[in-house]
Symmetry: C2
Subunit: 121 residues, 2 copies
């Protein structure tokens, strides 16, 4: 086993209120990490999957941003309400939550779905 | 290309001075991240390899702790002086720095081949 089956990093970077870029921390990302911790504990995944605070993940435009390793799946616009679905579908079931993927970072990730490969019309 | 070829997380968790567990932040990990940033910039790897602050990585006994994804290689007892070697050997050359590995986390980590590190699409 690797150290963690999945290592989930939640951006908690906080910029000054008047910074035009905004920041994940100011959008409530601490509550997202708390939701992950609670959900993982409920499913007895503590020590297997880790929800980790991170500084700026350089995905500010998509915030609050979350990246899951080792697979390198990026989620954007995540809310605490999305967390049970991410845990159930992705971290337990191995199926990333399509509607939350940051599409521009997903082009070559290992979990690419057929839908993402389809030409746009 | 994935979002980052390597995503390096440096634990910057800081506990109160009297906490017996100590903390990576109190052991000077902010300077480790600065060293990574400087070295990556020097090698024109900004945007390709990211040095990221992280909260507690749950590897306190080995701190200052650093984990590199997607390969899940863990380093412990890292100092700023070690950073050029990590960049040169591991992040550029694909050979993790043996003497800094956290052995108990290393059993099944996967090191990318040069081909995997540089997709040609």
């Amino acid at each position: 086993m690797p150290r963690f089956r999945h290592h989930v990093f939640i951006c908690e970077n906080r910029r000054p209120e008047d910074d035009p870029r905004g920041s994940c921390g100011a959008k409530g990302s601490a509550a997202i990490r708390e939701a992950f911790k609670a959900e993982l504990k409920k499913r007895n995944l503590k020590g297997v999957v880790r929800a980790n605070a991170a500084g700026c993940l350089d995905a500010c435009a998509h915030g609050p941003s979350v990246v899951v390793y080792p697979e390198g799946v990026w989620y954007g616009g995540v809310t605490p309400a999305d967390v049970p679905e991410i845990v159930e579908s992705h971290l337990v079931g191995g199926r990333p939550v399509e509607r939350l993927l940051v599409r521009e970072f997903a082009a070559h990730s290992r979990v690419l779905s057929p839908r993402e490969k389809a030409p746009t019309d």
